[in-house]
Amino acid sequence: MSREEEIKKGLFEHTLVGEASEVVELTQEGIDLGMDPLDILFGALIPSLQEVGRLFEIGEYFVPEMLVAARAMQGAMALLRPLLVDKGAEPIGKVVMLTVKGDVHDIGKNLCNIMLEGEGFDIVDLGVNVKPEEVVAAVQEHQPQLLGFSAFLTTTMPFFKSNLAALSEAGLRDSVKVMVGGAPVTPEYADSVGADGFAPDASAAVRLAKKLMVDMGYDVSMGGDDSEGASALTTAVQAVEELMVKSGKHEE
């Protein structure tokens, strides 16, 4: 077995059990040896995370196991990301993202941010517990094409409507498309509050964002030689998302 093959095997095994320092060391060694970053991703890291996801689906892994694997993956991604996206593609759109007032859950939103960024969007993250007036101020300041609201609790979902009302009162509703999501949110609820779209997870959020951009007449193709790197990054963060998106709700 060549050293490159040993590195890939080690990355698979260490990621599977969340041994972050070993994953970072092997990733760096692979880069130093001149291994193709895409091979490190698709030949080792993503298969490992897919296995973690499979184990979660069949009830052998729970959230702690997903967290340690995803964190190990994040260490490798910090090294690989510049190699994959350093080709300088222009942002295909700007998205303001937030978790609504009264809600401090942000794992899902953060995964959406990673996915959207990987697809070439410029992300402005307002964080958690964001009040309607802060939403209005951010739209005025950043002038995004898209706005994403996340709520993790049935007690905070109604702030979608409050945010939309605040945008309307400020005369900004028609300037931006609004996406909503979160564990308890349904397509019917999204429709009922007047959102422009609903996404159940981060992968769907990317598809929805691109669709809304196309509906507004924007070109969302990454184009040319950049597509391969961007696609690889997207696939990688999608794997992380698949692991972490079910990080679970608990609010009594």
Binding site: G18, F62, V63, P64, E65, L67, V68, R71, K101, G102, V104, I107, N129, T154, T155, T156, P158, P184, Y189, S247, G248, K249, H250, E251, E252
Partner: protein, 342 residues
């Protein structure tokens, strides 16, 4: 059968004795915006001052008809006293811990100086104890007055940060054990104060749920604490744990809880079978779909399903969304009344 008082009915359900009809209960929060308007007790005062807290809690019986009242609406009542950041000023949201003192690994895991006196004198802790005292004075022995504490697992989510705590169950289990061991005296002290103030039973929330962790984590980390702590509470203790829990009910039943409050993620007939009479059960009418988004007919159907399955005390599954219609909660009570035993 002769009509029972609410407290008699609740206690009979709790101990498996004959009831005139199934008890309907407020186990964790059943308060809503509509109930706030009806009672005139609103946030934030109903979370921070004894009188409005007791007034709003009383609405669970006086407006909705439940056989129990429970004044500690949020999961955050202890959090400030333990060094967490909590925004208590919101007029329309439950208070929630937003910053965890032990998330920084360099911070020593220990209780604030002066525990338990300083804890029990904390404004928000004291408020809840005083509210229980007011409710007891108001209802006497007619209505079941429940207290509520967070167990060491859920307090760890607050003090340690949920994600970091779950991460360390694998990466640093000794620090997790230290957190649980350090926090174990907190619910005990809080429960004792609530019982002294008049609580007839204690709801003990500890979210080692199947949505987050494997059942062996409950068995290995938390069960020994429960087995040590629960017998020391001088009142019946009702465990609350959200999510899918069928795979750990066996362990719950070994912990000494009188009753388990379960969610709609678990079919009531399967939960009754798993509990196998070792613990009484309360629940499990769905919140986000049935009580929040649907109507009284659907609430009645779910309450009836729980009764038919043999659930001992009928209740919403968890803290009810604040936007839920009062009529949906009343429908649960009416369903229990319609099942009066001859």
């Amino acid at each position: 059968m002769e009509q029972m008082t609410s407290k008699q009915r609740f206690l009979a359900g709790l101990y498996g004795n004959p009831v005139d009809r199934p008890p309907a209960a407020s186990i964790v929060s059943v308060i809503t915006y509509e109930l706030m308007d009806i009672t005139g007790a609103h946030f934030p005062h109903a979370n921070t001052e004894p009188e409005p807290m007791a007034t709003l809690a009383a609405g669970a019986h006086e407006v909705m008809g439940f056989d129990s009242v429970m004044p500690i609406f949020s999961i955050a009542q202890e959090a400030t006293a333990l060094g967490c950041q909590v925004d208590w000023s919101d007029t329309d949201m439950m208070p929630n811990p937003t910053d965890s003192p032990w998330a920084d690994r360099d911070v020593e895991i220990k209780l604030p100086d002066g525990f338990p006196d300083s804890f029990l004198e904390d404004k928000y802790v004291k408020c809840s104890i005083d509210a229980i005292r007011l409710l007891k004075q108001h209802f006497g022995d007619d209505v079941m007055v429940l207290g509520k504490v967070m167990g060491p697992w859920t307090l760890s989510y607050h003090c340690y940060n949920t994600q970091e705590f779950l991460f360390d169950t694998i990466m640093d289990p000794d620090r997790v054990r230290k957190s649980l061991e350090t926090l174990a005296p907190v619910p005990l002290a809080y429960a004792a104060a609530q019982v002294e103030a008049g609580a007839d039973a204690i709801v003990w929330a500890d979210h080692a749920t199947g949505d987050l962790v494997r059942n062996t984590m409950y068995r290995d980390f938390l069960l020994p604490h429960h087995q040590e702590l629960i017998p020391q509470v001088e009142a019946p203790v009702i465990l609350h744990c959200c999510g899918k829990t069928l795979d750990r009910v066996q362990y719950f039943s070994e912990a000494g809880f009188t009753c388990y409050h379960f969610e709609s993620a678990n079919p009531p007939d399967e939960m009754v079978e798993k509990a196998a009479g070792k613990m009484k059960l309360t629940g499990n009418v769905n919140n986000p779909i049935t009580l929040y988004a649907r109507g009284p007919d659907e609430a009645r159907a779910e309450a009836q399903a729980a009764i038919d399955a043999g659930v001992d005390i009928i209740a919403p599954e968890c803290a009810v969304p604040l936007q839920a219609p009062v009529a949906n909660l009343q429908a649960i009570v009416q369903t229990c009344k319609d099942n009066r035993h001859q």
